[in-house]
C-alpha cells in the first residue's frame, strides 16, 4: 500500500527534475487521492490542457479521435483519410474494432481510403481530388451507405472547402457525405476529435432530412453508446442486455452501421460505456429527443451486476426480473473464475495509464481478482473524468494526467508495481524494466474484456502475464554483474 506521504514525496521528487516553470505546470496534473477525500469539486487535478513542449506525451490528435475512435468503426460507411497517406496507413486496422461483414463488399472497417496528398494538392488545393475520389470510391464500392471525409492537418492549413464538396457529392450520390473537420492540430488531444466527430454525427446523420427512422419505438429499445467492440467487447456486452429482455437496436460505434445511428433517436435509453468519447451525442439526444442516458460499467462481476441492476431500474418489473436472472445465471461462472485466479493474483499492485473510460472502469475488475490499483491516469481525460474516478478509488492512489514518459518511468521505478496497464508505446520500456505489462487499449490482441465472458479472459490474461515464468529468467540491465545497484 502506498501512503499519502510516500506518494506526495514521490511527486515532489519527479517534479524536481523539471525547470521551475515546467514543474509548476506539471504539479497541477499530479495528485494523490484516496476514497475519503471526495468532494465533487474536481479533485484538484487540472486536465485537458495543452501538453508542454519538449516533454514526451503519449496523446493522440483530433484525427485519431475522430477517424480512429468514433467514425472508423462504423462499418458500412467509407471513411476517407483526406490528406497525406501516412495518417490513415499507419493507423489502419490497428484498433481491432471487430465487425461482421464482407470487407470490401458491404463493410470497409479495416480498409484504408486516402486522398494521398501530393505537393500539387497542397499548392492548388485538394477539393477537386476529393470530388474525384468520392466518385471513384462510390463506383468501386457501390454498397457503401455513406462516406465520411476525415481531414488531416494540411486540409485545414491550406483552407480547402470540404463542406462544399461534401454537399455537392452528397446530392450527386444520394448518400450522406460527411465532412469532418478533425485536423490533427485542433485541440490538445484526441478528445476534441471525439467532440468534433459527435457534432458531425449530430449535424450530418441525425439531422439529415428524410433520414430519420419512421417506425415506432419498442418499449425496451436501447442503444449501446461508446463501445467500440475491441476484441468483441460490444458483443459480450450486448448478449447480457438482450438476455435480460432489452432490445439493443444500435451499437455506437463498434460493429455499428449507418442505419443503427439513424435509428437511435427513437430508443428509450442510451447506455453509455465510454463517457469521454460519446457523452456529447448522448447529451444532444437527451435535450433534443428526451432520451435519458446512463453510464454503465461491464468490467468485472461486481460492476456488471451493479450496472445490470441500475439499467433494469429504468424499466419495468419484467426487465428487473430478467436482470436478476442474468446475474444468477452468470455469477457462479464468475465466482469459479475468481476462485481459480484470485489466489494467484491476490495483493498484486497495478498501475494504469490509459485513455477514455478504462483508468476508472477496470478498477472494479482488478479488485474482484484481489488486486489493488495504486496509480491511474488519463491521457486525455477532463475534470469530469477525474471526479468519476474518485468515486471508484478505495485506497491511496497516485493520479497523473497526461503523464510524461519521464514521470511514468520514475513512478514505476519507485512504486514497483506488479503489473502495468497502458499502451504499446509504454509496453517495451516497462517490460525491459522487468515489470509485467498488459496493453489496456487493445487488450494485447486478446479480448473481449467486457461482460461475464470477458471477465474470464481478463482474469486469465492478467494471470498469464503476472505469473509468466519469463520474469524469473530475464536479468534487467541494472541487475547484471558490474551494473551499479539501482
Amino acid at each position: 500500500m502506498l501512503t499519502q506521504d510516500e506518494a506526495q514525496k514521490l511527486i515532489q521528487e519527479v517534479l524536481a527534475a523539471y525547470p521551475p516553470e515546467a514543474a509548476e505546470d506539471r504539479a497541477k496534473h499530479l495528485a494523490v487521492l484516496d476514497g475519503e477525500s471526495a468532494d465533487g469539486g474536481g479533485c484538484g487535478i487540472t486536465a485537458n490542457r495543452k501538453s508542454l513542449p519538449g516533454v514526451m506525451t503519449i496523446r493522440g490528435c483530433a484525427y485519431a479521435g475522430s477517424k480512429g475512435v468514433v467514425w472508423g468503426p462504423i462499418k458500412d460507411m467509407i471513411h476517407i483519410s483526406h490528406g497525406p497517406v501516412g495518417c490513415g496507413q499507419y493507423s489502419r486496422a490497428g484498433r481491432r474494432n471487430y465487425y461482421v461483414g464482407y470487407t470490401g463488399v458491404n463493410t470497409f472497417g479495416t480498409m484504408n481510403f486516402t486522398s494521398d496528398f501530393q505537393e500539387k494538392d497542397i499548392v492548388f488545393g485538394g477539393d477537386k481530388k476529393l470530388a474525384k475520389l468520392l466518385d471513384e470510391a462510390n463506383t468501386l464500392f457501390p454498397l457503401n451507405k455513406g462516406i465520411s471525409v476525415q481531414s488531416e492537418c494540411p486540409v485545414g492549413l491550406i483552407g480547402d472547402d470540404i463542406e462544399a464538396v461534401a454537399k455537392k457529392k452528397s446530392a450527386d450520390l444520394a448518400k450522406p457525405v460527411v465532412p469532418v473537420r478533425c485536423e490533427g492540430f485542433r485541440g490538445v488531444s484526441q478528445s476534441l476529435g471525439h467532440h468534433i466527430a459527435n457534432d458531425t454525427i449530430r449535424d450530418y446523420i441525425l439531422d439529415r432530412p428524410n433520414a430519420a427512422f419512421t417506425g415506432e419505438a419498442g418499449p425496451y429499445d436501447v442503444a449501446v453508446i461508446g463501445d467500440y467492440n475491441i476484441g468483441g467487447d460490444a458483443w459480450s456486452s450486448r448478449i447480457l442486455l438482450e438476455e435480460m429482455g432489452l432490445n439493443v437496436v444500435a451499437q455506437w460505434s463498434g460493429d455499428g452501421t449507418l442505419a443503427e445511428l439513424e435509428r437511435t433517436p427513437k430508443v428509450r435509453l442510451n447506455l453509455v460505456h465510454c463517457y469521454r468519447s460519446m457523452n456529447y451525442i448522448s447529451r444532444h439526444m437527451e435535450s433534443k429527443y428526451g432520451i435519458p442516458w446512463l453510464e454503465y460499467n461491464f468490467f468485472g462481476p461486481t460492476k456488471i451486476a451493479d450496472s445490470l441492476r441500475r439499467i433494469a431500474a429504468k424499466f419495468d418489473a419484467r426487465i428487473q426480473a430478467g436482470a436478476e436472472a442474468v446475474i444468477a445465471k452468470y455469477q457462479p461462472m464468475a465466482d469459479a473464475i475468481t476462485e481459480r485466479f484470485r489466489p494467484r493474483l491476490q495483493g498484486k499492485r497495478v498501475m494504469l495509464y490509459v485513455g477514455g473510460l478504462r483508468p476508472r472502469h477496470v478498477i472494479g475488475a482488478y479488485e474482484d481478482l484481489g488486486m489493488e490499483v495504486v496509480g491511474t491516469g488519463y491521457e486525455f481525460g477532463h475534470n469530469d473524468d477525474y471526479e468519476r474516478t474518485q468515486e471508484e478509488l478505495k485506497n491511496t492512489t497516485l493520479i497523473y494526467d497526461d503523464a510524461t514518459g519521464y514521470e511514468l518511468e520514475r513512478f514505476v521505478e519507485q512504486v514497483r508495481p506488479d503489473l502495468i496497464g497502458s499502451g504499446i508505446k509504454e509496453k517495451y520500456v516497462f517490460q525491459k524494466m522487468g515489470i509485467p505489462f498488459r496493453q489496456m487499449h487493445s487488450w494485447d490482441y486478446s479480448g473481449p474484456y467486457h461482460g461475464y465472458d470477458g471477465y474470464a479472459i481478463f482474469a486469465r490474461d492478467m494471470d498469464m502475464t503476472i505469473n509468466n515464468p519469463c520474469w524469473k529468467m530475464m536479468t534487467p540491465p541494472w541487475r547484471q554483474p558490474g551494473a551499479e545497484a539501482a
Binding site: 469539486g41 474536481g42 485537458n48 467532440h195 456529447y280 447529451r283 446512463l294 477532463h382 475534470n383
Partner: protein, 72 residues
C-alpha cells in the same frame, strides 16, 4: 461578457448537474437561488466554486434544459 449556454440535467442520485459545452465542464449545482413552483433560477452555485446567473423562470422547468446564463 460571454453568455455561455449550459445544459442542466439530473444524475442518478438526483443532483442537479450543470454542463458547459464550451468548457466541457460538468459540475453539481449546489444551490439554486429561487427554487419555487412559480419562480426558478437566479444564482446557481456550482460545486467548483463558480457562480452562474439564470434569469428566473416563471415556472419550474422540465429537466433536461438548455439555457443561456450569465457568469457572475
Amino acid at each position: 461578457m460571454p453568455v455561455p449556454e449550459i445544459m442542466l440535467r439530473r444524475n442518478e442520485r438526483g443532483d442537479l448537474l450543470c454542463y458547459v459545452p464550451k468548457k466541457d465542464l460538468e459540475a453539481v449545482v449546489r444551490e439554486v437561488e429561487f427554487d419555487q413552483e412559480d419562480r426558478w433560477g437566479g444564482t446557481l452555485s456550482l460545486a467548483n466554486g463558480e457562480k452562474l446567473y439564470l434569469e428566473p423562470l416563471a415556472a419550474k422547468p422540465a429537466i433536461p434544459l438548455t439555457v443561456r446564463v450569465r457568469k457572475l
